[in-house]
Symmetry: C2
Subunit: 278 residues, 2 copies
């Protein structure tokens, strides 16, 4: 784990690290905001943030405007890249497949399976690594994300409820089995085995595994240009069906981008801080 950059920010440190990943079979980067409390040696709660299509480990730390409140609340923020990258890593025909579009699952199909193992990378490699290297309170870790990363947050939380104590999302892809982005990614990465798809679909995972968290927070812009890909109402129905408490907020005028995310980022940090310090 090599420190590539470090910038003081709200008396904490915004860092970018690089590591040689076993699961991704190559170099990968992640960012870590370390609040001042952690710099002084205090163990702090941590949040994993999973970004959307085309993003990198830098998108969140530049565009989401989370450091101010994370500094106040004493939250560590970890943001991985959105896929494996490199010359020897397979690339798709467009920005919604391949590099920048890892979908936070383990691919089983060629040519993707060799490097596209984001689920194992995050849960088996990055997660223990940052607990060991940073001042993280290991029983107080949450996960959130945006769009493809909202899908990632909701699915990883339901697959690994022992790892994540709180979960929220901005404009998540709630039912990837039923939208063009998800169908393209799943058919490429997982093949056409529909029962396998269900293991990586937030709505179907919720229906099969039931209620697992005290509360889930989702924010959704009504003028989201990708609204038809997201299906928040399906996730709401599934929550109602299994008795999972969901706070799903619709926001008039807001779209899919980071001007929307920054407007509600403080609410998400507060939500997680409350859940993680219960």
């Amino acid at each position: 784990m090599e420190l590539l950059s470090k910038n003081i920010c709200f008396d904490g440190e915004q860092r970018i690290y690089q590591l040689q990943s076993t699961h991704l079979k190559g170099l990968t980067k992640f960012s870590a905001y370390i609040p001042p409390q952690a710099l002084k040696g205090q163990k702090c709660p941590a949040l994993f943030y999973l970004a959307g299509l085309t993003c990198t480990e830098e998108t969140f730390i530049i565009k989401a405007h989370a450091q101010r409140l994370a500094s106040q609340l004493g939250l560590i923020l970890i943001a991985p890249d959105t896929s494996p990258r490199g010359e020897n890593v397979a690339q798709g025909d467009s920005w919604d497949l391949g590099q920048g579009a890892g979908f936070y699952l383990n691919a089983t199909q060629a040519p993707w399976a060799e490097h596209f193992q984001m689920e194992s990378f995050i849960t088996n490699e990055l997660y223990p690594l940052v607990i060991k290297a940073l001042a993280i309170q290991s029983d107080a870790i949450g996960i959130f994300g945006h769009s493809m990363g909202g899908h990632g947050a909701l699915t990883l939380a339901w697959k690994y409820p022992n790892l994540f104590k709180s979960v929220s999302a901005f404009a998540p892809i709630c039912a990837p089995s039923d939208c063009p982005w998800g169908e393209k990614a799943f058919s490429n990465y997982l093949g056409n085995d529909q029962p396998e798809w269900a293991q990586h679909d937030a709505t179907q995972l919720l229906l099969s595994k039931g209620q697992l968290f005290d509360e889930v927070l989702i924010d959704q812009g009504i003028q989201d240009q990708f609204y038809s890909q997201l299906h928040p109402e399906k996730y709401q129905q599934a929550c109602d069906q299994v008795g999972q408490k969901l706070t799903l907020r619709f926001h008039e005028g807001y779209d899919h981008g980071y001007y929307f995310i920054q407007s509600f980022i403080d609410d998400h940090l507060q939500f997680h801080a409350l859940q993680l310090t219960k």
Copy 2:
């Protein structure tokens, strides 16, 4: 003035406009954050933000994290591009000259003089245009900026005190006549006429024109990688000499970038809001 994009942000609107500029002889862009108060028709104070070398009209709105408090305070934020641009606009040999490096002055030398007229563009063209087009309270306009844009803010404030009621800067180039960036820009744009340079040097302008503002706020990182280009101590000495009140804050650990700026942006917005509503 054509609206290129509009995103709802903290119940206001983050807009980007394009216009055909008479002074720049070409198309140019600027961004405007319109807080919710202004959207409802209330006249609001406004701030011009001038960005540094290599930046565009988008840098501030993505990286400075100003919208949250601007929304609360009801401040309109205007950020022009940092130079004329285009295929027929002269380019320098490096990122510190030519496109992206307009230095907020009017060039007198070939090949720069034809398009590089940022001083006139901002004060004679953009300023009256936004007052006419947006809900700006025309007697409550301030100016601030970063690095080359800090130089721009301090010099335009002293050249046009009738236009700007408040001024502040992040890591400004305080004495461009005495640093490599400034010497390169001034000799190219203005020629080797040293008395002319003095008209565009914040420290020399202050010494010649004297105290003009109730207070100036400057924030400076002590670990700024470009510290030797900036000379805040010369500006401090000139302020002391002419009796200009200056709050110059040095910050341990902080560098030259936007992680520094975002950490203190709220203080600058509060500073201007207080000055502009006096």
